[in-house]
């Protein structure tokens, strides 16, 4: 009897020690393949790279990190299945993932029910508005992009604006937000054209915009090849007013695709795109330059803001665990909510109970294509 109790105690001690040594499990579901692969691919690479680097530096709270990642292929249904597996089978401590808004929103009810901190990497406002107890996000919202663009247009004396957008989820969401906030800036939308997902030529829509009365600037909301075709057609038609693009095309690839036609195009984007040309006094410079160099050295491809969102997500989770001093889910959630002044690739993050994104307009920089590269707009 006595021996039995002693044995049980020993077993308990051993399992407690094992618990302390067990790795912290970071769950992820990302669109590594499929139509949103340009989001999920750099996100996955970033998570792998930084879990490795954190482990090499001794881990977090004295424990190693372990990445459990699934490829949702951009499918909301699959995202839901994988999130369920992450919660119930893999028993992860936090989820950093959800490349698209659709995937993210499909998973929100699951994490809310399970009480698991979830940092989304998708763009739309609906993710954090209204605030959901367990859901946070790292990227800028499309509404902020609209605000930033309209402020810039106003400053350059344009108030009659034409809109052209694609038919994807991102495009539609941004178009809606821009239409909503235009009035706040005294912007008058005089034309509102759309194009389809696989469209090969947008000159018909742009001709309509060109002939709309009094257009002073044009805004194209979209990502992928669509905006590059719009830019080329814009040049072909010789439309003289300034062209603005969205943060959806904030990558070198856009300039490569659109070529000379991209010269002078403006868009709002994170500082990551112009990392090296930021002034040394810029508080964000250190973070973005170090991420950019680490990523490009390892994967031999240009850094994208999307990978940056994953970096921010992982680092916020780590920061919250450190602040909470444990991986207890409720404590990590509270710590996430009280992060202030954290400098990420997207900008300075000030979370609060009302704001689970924590970014403001200063996070966006107005960029301009100059001599085939991104530069800070003057």
């Amino acid at each position: 009897m006595k021996l039995h109790a002693w044995f049980a105690a020993a077993l308990l001690a051993v399992s407690a020690a094992a618990q302390a040594q067990a790795p912290i499990r970071i769950g992820a579901f990302l669109s590594v393949t499929g139509p949103a692969a340009f989001l999920g691919d750099p996100e996955q690479k970033t998570l792998e790279l930084y879990v490795e680097r954190l482990n090499a530096a001794g881990g977090v709270l004295g424990r190693k990190l372990e990445l459990v990642s699934y490829d949702s292929g951009g499918d909301a249904e699959k995202a839901r299945t994988f999130a369920k597996r992450l919660i119930e089978q893999d028993r992860v401590d936090v989820i950093v993932g959800g490349s698209t808004t659709g995937e993210t929103m499909a998973v929100v009810p699951l994490v809310e029910a399970a009480g698991l901190p979830f940092i989304s990497l998708a763009g739309a406002v609906v993710i954090v508005e209204p605030v959901k107890k367990w859901v946070f996000k790292t990227p800028h919202t499309d509404r902020m992009a609209c605000d930033k663009i309209f402020v810039d247009m106003k400053a350059r004396g344009a108030s009659k604006v034409a809109l052209i957008s694609g038919s994807g989820g991102f495009d539609k969401s941004m178009r809606g937000e821009c239409l909503k906030v235009a009035k706040n800036h005294g912007i008058n939308i005089v034309a509102d054209e759309t194009y389809g997902a696989g469209d090969t030529d947008m000159t018909a829509q742009l001709t309509k915009i060109k002939n709309a009365a009094g257009v002073q600037a044009v805004l194209n909301a979209g990502f992928g090849q669509g905006p590059a075709i719009v830019t080329k057609n814009y040049k072909q038609l010789g439309i003289g007013v300034p062209l603005y693009q969205s943060h959806g095309v904030a990558s070198k690839q856009y300039i490569q695709l659109a070529g000379d036609a991209a010269e002078g195009v403006r868009l709002p984007a994170a500082a990551l795109l112009v990392a090296e040309s930021l002034p040394d006094s810029d508080p964000q410079k250190k973070v973005v330059v170090s991420y950019k160099q680490a990523y490009e050295a390892r994967f031999k491809q240009d850094v994208s803001t999307f990978g940056g969102h994953a970096y921010d997500g992982l680092m916020l989770a780590v920061e919250a665990m450190k602040n909470a001093g444990s991986t207890d889910k409720a404590k990590v959630r509270d710590a996430l909510e009280s992060i202030r002044g954290y400098m990420g690739t997207a900008g300075v993050v000030n979370m609060s109970a009302q704001d689970h994104m924590g970014l403001d307009l200063t996070a966006f920089r107005m960029l301009q294509v100059r001599k085939g590269d991104w530069a800070l707009a003057k």
Partner: protein, 291 residues
């Protein structure tokens, strides 16, 4: 106002010529086997992507294009060898489903062999737009329209003037009779898939400077090309061109004068109306007209 109309027409012609080029690829395989090859869009993708990657490896454009067409042809032959031939004797519907599977496989392979990024090819003769009646046209559009016309002529010659072309038509009309007079059905299938793949790849190379190219570019182009082929009359070369141009013009005029949000819907509704009135398509033969 007339400058506006001219621009819509030119836009429509550009898009229409692209659809026509893709639609032409459907003709040959359909003529040989009555199979609609749903991997045709993937041949278009392979043409563009392979050229982009060969260009990146340092080959000059003509050589890269040639290598890409050769690669696509090989893949077309492999498709017959490893997917269509083993299903010998299967119904046309089964073969069509096989091509859908092949399309998914080829898309997946493209993401592995190449990447998931969008690539651009340089325009063959510069980007300076050509001005016509107050409207503008990209020089590359002329390449697309010109080559589409050449291909129609070449196809017509092939099917009407050469033994191989006539053999393909013979197989399509009556497989057993063709076999009895000594035509190798296996050979006809190989030739038709190889030719279709080469044609698709050529289309992919020509249009890539306008539309860009990526691993999934074949999905939408294949669908629009298919619609154009059906509209013009499946299996007819001039029909494919007419169908493509009609579809392109419908889209651009729809976007210009009605609503850009509904331009695809407008085009497809008109296609449905045409097919109800003329089930064989604009230039398609009536189905009773069998030799």
């Amino acid at each position: 106002m007339s400058a506006e109309l001219a621009q819509f027409l030119l836009s429509g012609l550009t898009v229409g010529a692209i659809y026509a080029l893709v639609a032409l690829g459907f003709c040959i395989i359909y003529n040989a086997s009555h199979v609609i090859n749903f991997a045709q869009g993937e041949f278009v993708m392979i043409g563009g992507m392979a050229t982009a990657s060969f260009l990146g490896a340092g080959l000059p454009l003509p050589l890269a294009a040639l290598a890409a067409v050769a690669l696509a042809t090989l893949i077309g032959l492999a498709l017959v060898k490893f997917a269509v031939e083993p299903a010998r004797g299967a119904s046309v519907v089964t073969l069509i489903i096989i091509t859908i599977g092949a399309a998914i496989l080829l898309r997946g392979l493209a993401t592995l062999v190449w990447d998931k990024r969008i690539h651009a090819l340089p325009a063959f003769s510069g980007d300076a737009p050509i001005s016509i009646a107050g409207a503008t046209l990209a020089p590359q559009s002329l390449w697309v329209i010109g080559v589409a016309a050449l291909i129609v002529a070449a196809l017509w010659g092939f099917f009407n003037r050469t033994l191989a072309g006539k053999a393909i038509l013979a197989v399509s009309h009556n497989r057993l009779a063709a076999q009895l007079v000594g035509i190798s059905v296996r050979r006809v299938l190989l030739v038709s898939f190889g030719l279709s793949a080469a044609l698709g790849a050529l289309a992919g190379i020509l249009i890539a400077p306008i539309t860009f190219t990526s691993w999934d570019v074949g999905v939408m182009l294949g669908l629009k090309g298919f619609a154009a082929a059906i509209l013009g009359g499946m299996g007819s070369g001039p029909g494919a061109v007419l169908g493509g141009l009609t579809l392109g013009l419908l889209e651009s005029l729809g976007a210009g004068y009605v609503s850009s949000a509904y331009k695809d819907a407008i085009a497809f509704v008109i296609i449905l109306v045409v097919l109800v009135l003329m089930p064989g398509g604009l230039l398609g033969g009536r189905s009773t007209e069998r030799v």
